[in-house]
């Protein structure tokens, strides 16, 4: 199964979104909803979660980039996402450096290793 020409979505603070839009990932037109969300201080968690779920539902989005501190707010929604596409990538923000122990993917990969497994 191949999906060509998928978009990269971003959910992040203003600087993160500005940076990635400068990189050329942004899509905004009257026909479709934008593939980015600028999260500000007054952005509600409901809005973030709804946007995240809408990105998951879209078939034209391949990767979702999300600041880790925002991912923490909707951790339950991210943990519930088990499919390979779209991939969810947690990125640091200016005030919150990347913490591998909070990353959903790495937590899933860590799993439960015990001495029994390797006997």
């Amino acid at each position: 199964m191949t999906g060509r020409g998928k978009l990269i979505a971003v959910i992040g603070d203003e600087d993160t979104c500005t940076g990635f839009l400068l990189g050329g990932i942004g899509e905004l037109n009257k026909n479709r909803k934008p593939n980015f969300l600028v999260v500000e201080k007054d952005t509600s968690i409901t809005e973030i979660e709804e946007t995240f779920k809408s990105f998951l539902a879209r078939s034209d989005i391949g990767i979702i980039l999300i600041n880790q501190f925002i991912a923490e707010m909707i951790r339950h929604a991210i943990d519930a996402h088990m499919q390979s596409i779209p991939a969810v990538l947690e990125i640091p923000s200016k005030e919150h450096p990347y913490d591998a122990s909070k990353d959903s993917i790495l937590r899933r990969a860590k799993g439960m290793f015990s001495a029994e497994d390797f006997r």
């Binding site: 203003e14 400068l22 990189g23 050329g24 905004l28 990767i63 596409i85 591998a100």
Partner: protein
Amino acid sequence: MTEMRADQHLRLDEQLLLFMDQLEALEEKRQKLNSLIEEGWFSIAKTRYSMGNKQVSALQYASEMEPLVHVEASLLEGGTAEFKCERRKNKTEELKNNTVEDIGAKETGLRRRINTKQKGVKEEEEETDPQVKTTAESSTPEHREPLKWFGILVPQSLKQAQSAFKEVITLSAEIASLQSEILATRKEMQAQVKEKQEKTKTQPEIKEE
């Protein structure tokens, strides 16, 4: 039976080593991504310092945007997803390559400093000749180049930010592929461990018989 168990252990060991290698590669790419992003933010901050706080914000975003980079997502056997970044070539520069020869004689004051065919994406070209600009705009809308949202002459720091984030985007696709591989390896290992445990449980039963 002993040979089968040995094979199983060997496979499990190989999977574990692969898992560790993948985690190491992920860690390396993550660090690079983090440092590139920080570089990008720093450049944006420098731009803000020189242009003004309100000149570099979400208010400057265009009302219409077209994505210049896409990601090719493919689902491989075993459920692993592979992502490849594809950046659209700037049509504007190709047009410029064609039109420069035509209007070269008509140019009045501005000298064209840039060698068109050899170089890559050139935002500066759009700043020079208004004649060429109009020709380009009729076929390539202005909102394609994000740098232009922030003004005609943008500081070098903003271009540095753009190039840092372009690299981040490419790296993100690689990290997404690696993450998917890691999860697949982990799943495979869990399956093998379970198989091994089941075989260990049945073996005492066989001995009793």
